[in-house]
Symmetry: C2
Subunit: 433 residues, 2 copies
């Protein structure tokens, strides 16, 4: 039962309407938050096993990257500034055919280190070789929701689903405290009705959630209407998908009726502004979704379409892009943007009872950000500074499930140089003929 | 005649169509680049006074922040997510009334350190107390184009202009190698015709450029048409402004006729995507401007509307926002975005012959970026990695005018802690009653 105290930081619990607490203290026992409040109010019963001195810092809930394809770090910068179709068909997919399990392991190791360095303590991963990716997440000390990826149009789709169900059932049995498996049908347009129905059955039987891309491009919506007579969201609803917990990535092109459905069915929408800008997909109507009470989280998407896994940058992009899109500087203010990256993402993944805020009884996933850099002075408002001025490199300590995985900007659990060396070698091989 | 060699970095000279040179070498003599190419091709005549070992890094021209109000670092995060009018009238302007010369000195010191840390070696500054700001830029070791700011609607406008002309004339006499003064009439809508004509006369007489905000908001353009019967760009042209070199910040709302004028008159447009998004001003038509041959640079605007002075982030925002705006992922690719931040900005400031590329005969302003971080692996394409994945904290050495002002992420010339302490104290005072 290891105990940890984080001392002296300004506390941003990210609980609804909570104000920053100066000189705060977070106490952790066996991974659980047992106190989060003013230092002055804390009654210490015994010295903790470990202490993080965090004066001059702000402590906030670990950021939650609610949609990524983590091992795509291997393809970072491999192909950019291209139309979606040739990008996928000529560059990404042929290269992904070459991926081995070990490639995915090292790609996820790299992505995990990159995220932990950026204060991201949990990620929702849809990708091939999910076993290897899960092994990497466990080794890296990060929290993950692995789902594999079901490409329903492949002749092997049935076998993929069987294997996915075996994978999630195995993980459920293992009950690793940081691994929360899901099922990952790729998208409505890549999965036939019967497969999606089977996915719902599997998810219901195992009591797990579904991770899926939805309405990322206008083309997808137009095609769905032509082919199925309804939008992708309506189709998923008709197929019963929303009877189980669903997190729906992108949701760029939504009708008002879609928004009603997403609200009523408590679907978690994952906004990916960086990817949606880079691939020119469009703008997810986040202000409208929030106004209607839809759960909205934030994701980076894969590093091939971003090109990093920096969720603080994503929060900034969210705040900026909606102001521009609505031509209103009051839209999606800094506290709202930071809520998307923490509480919102946790809720979108169905983990809102476990992480996403710093509250007693939740797991201790914490990002501690050093405020001493010149670009954060003079320090008028800490939330504004985090969203509009801070960068991932300001994160100084990262805690996952009560374990200090980064201390003083040094990873405590993994050999970072080995990981980078492996990824460079594998990246070279993948880029080759 | 101090000599410097930067050894082993991949070289991005940013000369038109130049490819990256692996294992490059930059030789500097008395601030001037005497060699920039492959290490293998360099003939060393004598050992240099100073060496920067830069293996595993990329060396590129120091970034040029072509529009900012540097001392507004003091107001970073002071007021965000507000409509432009109350933001300016209730928050920014009343606070600026309290600014002393020493406030501006320390605000510019902080902004300079923030920029040097981010690989920004030159900035174009329009702000009050320009003498103090210039003193800070000189002390910080950065290159600057100070202009002061002429608010033509004030009763003191004539006195301000006289003082500005005295200021620029004084600097011309001083001929500091890193200080390039300009005249700074705030904007067409804040300056009457007769004042703008006097500014042109002054600039022509002294052989200097004009720095001005142009067509930042739709309201400004509508008002200009109502009041003057023409757009702001047309009005400035009629007043003879474009007879002298002009850098025009923002240029968000332009007619096709405006774009023709900007191209013909060789006006340097300064794109400020972060500020234009945050204040919900709109999108400067950069792809159209580039297609027409207009000179385009990149700026952060002030830290009160950004909220940092990170030009690499600005290059990323530029690449992203135009893809989204045109719904075309091929628009403003990574090399173009990086060109805006270097060559483009230098040209927009009329300094294209002196800085903006790493070429023999130019001043040695160099940013050296460490590529060893996880978020830059595996390293498929260095320009993509810089624009889409890198962050300011990856800059490891910064050279201005041949002087190493940051080495191994440590400032060599200034006491950073003192600067931050001063800015925090002054920030608190300014935020007070």
């Amino acid at each position: 039962m290891a105990t940890l105290e984080i001392r002296g930081a300004t506390l941003l619990t990210m609980a609804e309407d909570a104000e920053p607490t100066p000189d705060g203290l977070i106490a952790v026992d066996d991974g659980l938050i047992t106190y989060a409040g003013a230092s002055a109010g804390y009654v210490r019963r015994s010295e903790p096993d470990e202490i993080l001195e965090a004066g001059g810092c702000v402590a906030l809930p670990g950021l939650v990257n609610a949609h990524t394809h983590c091992a795509m770090t291997l393809l970072r910068g491999f192909a950019d500034d291209m139309d979606l179709k040739p990008w996928l068909e000529e560059m990404v997919w042929p290269t992904e055919m070459k991926l081995t399990e070990e490639d995915v392991y090292w790609g996820v190791m790299l992505g995990s280190v990159e995220m932990l360095r950026a204060g991201v303590t949990c990620f929702n991963d849809m990708y091939h070789h999910a076993e290897a990716g899960t092994r990497a997440a466990i080794d890296a000390g990060i929290r993950a929701c692995p789902s594999g990826v079901l490409l329903g149009f492949l002749p092997t789709a049935e076998a993929m689903l069987a294997r996915a169900l075996e994978f999630t059932a195995g993980l459920a049995k293992q009950a690793h405290p940081r691994i929360h498996p899901m099922l990952g049908p790729h998208a409505p347009y890549t999965c036939p009705d019967h497969l999606l129905r089977r996915v719902v059955e599997g998810a219901a039987a195992q009591g797990i959630a579904i991770h899926i891309h939805v309405a990322e491009t206008k083309h997808e919506v137009d095609e769905s209407i032509a082919e199925h007579g309804c939008t992708p969201v309506e189709r998923l609803d008709r197929l019963g998908l929303f009877e189980v917990p669903v997190n729906a990535a992108h949701c760029v092109w939504l009708s008002d009726q879609d928004i009603e459905l997403l609200a009523e069915r408590r679907v978690g929408v994952v906004h990916c502004p960086g990817s949606n800008m880079k691939l020119a997909s469009g703008v997810c109507p986040v202000p409208k979704l929030l106004a209607r009470g839809v759960i909205v989280g934030l994701g980076t998407d894969g590093a091939a379409s971003n090109n990093n896994l920096d969720l603080l940058e994503e929060a900034r992009l969210a705040a900026l892009v909606h102001k521009l899109h609505d031509l209103d500087p009051k839209v999606l203010n800094a506290p709202q943007a930071l809520a998307l990256a923490t509480r919102g993402s946790a809720q979108a993944l169905g983990l809102g009872g476990m992480i996403g805020t710093l509250e007693v009884g939740k797991r201790a996933d914490v990002a501690i950000v050093d405020l001493s850099a010149p670009h954060l002075a003079p320090g008028h408002h800490v939330v504004s500074d985090l969203v509009y001025a801070a960068r991932a490199s300001d994160v100084v300590h990262t805690v996952v499930d009560g374990v200090v995985v980064m201390r003083d900007r040094k990873m405590t659990h993994v050999d970072e140089e080995e990981i980078i060396r492996e990824v460079r070698e594998r990246g070279r091989r993948l880029a080759g003929p």
